[in-house]
């Protein structure tokens, strides 16, 4: 039912044929990300008269990206694995796409909201303490659900570490107890993950990391996506000057 993509030319053909007036998408993959999926043989597609679905294979199922220009023709596909889709809605967007996925048997798991920071003056601080990217990777994988959390690769964490964008706290045994991972995208930053190990919560670690981030990077525009139902991290971001900007992401699965 799904066809694997082995060449970037196929991606171009599928995307180009779907870029019609009125098209909507949740796909923000960079060229490098497309190439990586193809190289890893994890990219599949299903094209229909109305758009295309891209399926990125993971060990738990598929991550689904879409380009849709005709909502009347979305087919019901039988898949051999669970699929997860994240529907990003700008403030001006209607929710027709959510209804379409519900008609395909997808259920809403949760909603994330996007928050933007208040801009502060820059403070000069020494470089953060070194953290081994592999340890950061293992820590994040232990705290977050990989099906819905968009976890980074070790390479991405190495890059973040070099840029001083991995902030962390440790216990007396030098084990990570809390971690903040930030990604730089041109002039902007995005807080990708803020994690505290389960037995270290309610000790102010997350707020401490968020405050450190603001001290280091608060002079730059920063975004963060946070689950609407996660009141503790939302509260921390609000305390450090972040406010919702109207963008939402609805995570669904079949």
């Amino acid at each position: 039912m799904l066809n694997r993509i082995d060449d970037i030319k196929k991606v171009n053909e599928l995307v180009t044929s779907s870029l019609k007036i009125g098209v909507i998408t949740n796909c923000t993959l960079t060229p490098n990300q497309w190439h990586e999926e193809i190289e890893n043989k994890t990219l599949f597609y299903y094209q229909f008269d109305g758009g295309v679905f891209f399926f990125r294979l993971r060990d738990y199922g598929y991550k689904l990206n879409y380009y849709i220009y005709n909502f009347d023709n979305i087919p019901k596909i039988q898949l051999d694995k669970p699929s997860y889709v994240e529907i990003v809605l700008r403030p001006k967007d209607n929710t027709q796409i959510v209804n379409s996925f519900e008609n395909l048997g997808f259920k809403q798991l949760f909603t994330r909201i996007r928050m933007k920071n208040t801009i502060y003056e820059q403070k000069n601080l020494p470089k953060p303490e070194y953290i081994e990217p592999k340890k950061a990777y293992d820590f994040l994988n232990s705290v977050f659900d990989k099906k819905t959390a968009c976890l980074p690769t070790i390479d991405e964490l190495e890059q973040a570490e070099k840029q001083g964008l991995l902030l962390w706290r440790k216990n007396n045994e030098n084990e990570i107890t809390a971690l903040l991972h930030v990604k730089q995208d041109r002039k902007k930053y995005e807080i990708r993950h803020l994690a505290v190990s389960e037995n270290e919560r309610k000790k102010g670690l997350a707020l401490s990391l968020a405050n450190e981030f603001i001290s280091r990077f608060g002079h730059c525009q920063t975004l963060v996506w946070v689950r609407e139902d996660y009141y503790a991290p939302k509260h921390i971001y609000e305390k450090t000057g972040f406010k919702p900007d109207g963008f939402k992401a609805i995570v669904m699965s079949n």
Partner: protein
Amino acid sequence: MNELLNLLKENCPGVDFENSNSLVDDEILESLDIVTIVSAIMDEYNVEISVEDLIPENFNSVSAMYDLITRLKG
């Protein structure tokens, strides 16, 4: 370029295309807005834009978009 500017204004009303050279970097345009713009450009100018061209540098300003179209038209 004026024709392109009119097209952009029609598809993304309220965006100040004339006075910004950092439309994407300054978040005047979001990545999802780029898809709207690309569809309009492809339709109007009969060019094909590949995923490798869907990068912020090509949409940061009207002149960058104009250069992209010119390059694609050969």
